[in-house]
């Protein structure tokens, strides 16, 4: 929590407490903590003088503002049609098998979370995934296993 408080303090000292600071502030906290805890949401609500329900309602609307705990590395495998047509399912199960977690789960060491995502905008190089903000495309099960291996050593 002290870290969250200092992020909030730093943000409002630079940008003020107007409502338009809500999303950039939540984004900064997610970048630091990988998700928005109840405590963080309450702290933000109090600082920006917005009701906690409104802050939660806004945060939970957006895909990349997670309100449940996530791993250090969030893998988001694109699931839309172009990726679906290019071995997306095989790549996903290869990753799932390697990490021993199912889609939606976080590994017990909190290192990885495996999720599916809507179109990432790499349809011509399908299938694609993001690990945090890093993009990987033209995946095969073998290539995906290699990438995951590198992250396992991080």
């Amino acid at each position: 929590m002290p870290e969250i408080k200092s992020i909030i303090k730093d943000h409002i000292s630079k940008h003020g407490t107007d409502r338009n600071n809500l999303l950039p502030l939540l984004q900064r906290i997610v970048q630091q903590e990988n998700y928005l805890s109840e405590e963080s949401l309450l702290e933000v609500a109090e600082t920006l003088k917005i009701s906690p329900a409104d802050v939660y309602g806004t945060a939970s609307f957006y895909t990349y503002l997670d309100t449940v705990p996530r791993g250090k590395y969030i893998i988001r495998m694109c699931r839309n049609v172009s990726c679906m047509m290019q071995q997306q399912a095989e790549v996903l199960s290869a990753i799932s098998a390697q990490l021993k977690i199912k889609v939606g789960e976080t590994s017990s060491d909190k290192h990885f979370t495996l999720l599916q995502a809507n179109c990432l905008g790499w349809c011509h190089k399908a299938p694609a995934m993001m690990i945090n903000n890093e993009v990987y495309n033209e995946l095969t099960p073998e290539k995906a296993r290699q990438i995951i291996k590198e992250y396992q050593q991080k």
Binding site: D18, R19, N20, N21, L22, L23, P24, L26, Q27, G57, T58, F61, Y62, T63, Y64, L65, R79, N80, V81, S82, M84, M85, A117, N118, C119, L120, G121, W122, C123, H124, K125, A126, M130, N133, E134, V135
Partner: protein, 388 residues
């Protein structure tokens, strides 16, 4: 690969000059009304999907009296199968920034915002570097206009202009009632132009080559060229700039083969065009409008899986504000699953079709209204694949 097609164009990605922001500098010498008239003469329509005349949008914002106005670049490219805006911002960001600055000059806005979808965060650093260069040039040209990047947080409906504005203001990206439109009551209630990335880049191209040359491309109703994001069962996936007025058949001849049974034009919110309609379907405002997504399907693909994925996508991305869209998307998804499993009779499909039509008529924004496009076009052409 050598192209046989006469309609391939290279305007958006071409590097026509080594001198930075030359078109911007030249255009700023002209009167704002003159610039807007040229844009209107060019017939440019929004390249996102909706196709509202760009010059008219700028003209409406210009005639509003307000101390504060905004120019917003919609880079929330989330339509499935589309990736052209990402490539534009990566390869030719100067064209987009120039288009935005010219718009700011014309309407009297001092501030521009790029709404960049979260998935494209990797572009942010390069964009910031380019913006530093841009701001130096703008100062040199004596124009009071700055641009900042606003990061999205993952939401398809944020591509709807009023939802996008809500998001920048710090709220859930729920579309507003219209009217009033953003050109009169946009960001923080101020007159605002929201244009797609490709629209700004194309505007810059028009100011370089002139409306007359732009009009030589395309048709009477659909002037110019446009980028298409081509993927699926094609030997040449990627971004291709084509003249508007091209038929689907010409596109298939170039990028597909004889096994292509259908093409989804315009992503999840677009239309399924079956093989028998390839020759007669024109891409343009007189035919089928699109943000540029084209996904090719060959004979081995299940159209049930495609439709199912689109419906799942809509059910997830519906903002939940209006009932027809919130409930409708879920019922259509459950409905086709039930028919497929035999829990509902085949005739239930007709009930679902009526629901899709109701959604088109009664949903608040383009998301709910467009679910009927893939639903009815896939169903009408591939009914047996949906049922059995």
């Amino acid at each position: 690969m050598e192209s046989q097609n006469q309609k391939r164009i290279d305007l958006i990605f071409s590097n026509y000059t080594s001198s930075k922001y030359k078109v911007l500098e030249q255009t700023l010498q002209r009167e704002a009304d003159d610039i807007i008239s040229e844009l209107m003469d060019s017939g440019l329509k929004g390249r996102g999907n909706v196709g509202f005349p760009t010059g008219m949008k700028w003209k409406f914002a210009r005639r509003e009296v307000s101390d504060t106005k905004y120019v917003i670049c919609n880079a929330n490219e989330s339509e499935t199968g589309t990736f052209k805006d990402r490539e534009i911002l990566e390869r030719v960001p100067r064209k987009v920034l120039s288009g935005m600055a010219i718009c700011g000059y014309c309407i009297g806005a001092k501030k521009g915002i790029i709404y960049l979808r979260h998935e494209y965060s990797y572009l942010k650093e390069n964009l910031q570097n380019e913006l530093a260069i841009f701001h130096d040039y703008v100062k040199l040209f004596n124009l009071d206009f700055t641009i900042e990047v606003f990061s999205g947080s993952g939401s398809y409906v944020s591509g709807e202009e009023s939802a996008l504005i809500e998001s920048i203001e710090g709220y859930r990206a729920e579309p507003r009632n219209k009217p009033p439109f953003p050109v009169t009551n946009g960001l923080y209630g101020c007159p605002t132009v929201v244009n797609n990335v490709e629209t700004f880049a194309t505007a810059q191209v028009i100011f370089r080559i002139g409306a007359e040359d732009f009009l030589k491309l395309g048709t009477q109703y659909s002037s110019g060229s446009k980028l298409f994001s081509i993927s699926g069962d094609t030997k040449n996936p990627g971004i291709h700039e084509l003249e508007l007025g091209t038929t689907i058949e010409e596109v298939v001849n170039e990028f597909g083969d004889k096994n292509i049974k259908s093409i989804q034009v315009g992503g999840a919110s677009g239309y399924c065009i079956p093989q028998r309609l390839f020759a007669e379907t024109v891409i343009g405002y007189e035919g089928i409008t699109t943000g540029g997504s084209m996904i090719f399907f060959n004979n081995t693909r299940s159209m049930y899986k495609v439709l199912h994925e689109y419906l799942r996508f809509f059910a997830e991305e519906s903002c939940g504000l209006c009932t027809p869209c919130r409930i409708g998307t879920q019922q259509l998804l459950k409905g086709i699953e039930a028919v497929k499993k035999g829990e509902k009779p085949d005739s239930y499909i007709d009930v679902l079709k009526k629901l899709a039509v109701s959604m088109k008529l009664s949903s608040k924004c383009g998301l709910g209204q467009s679910v009927a496009n893939p639903f009815i076009s896939i169903l009408d052409n591939f009914k047996e694949e949906i049922l059995y």
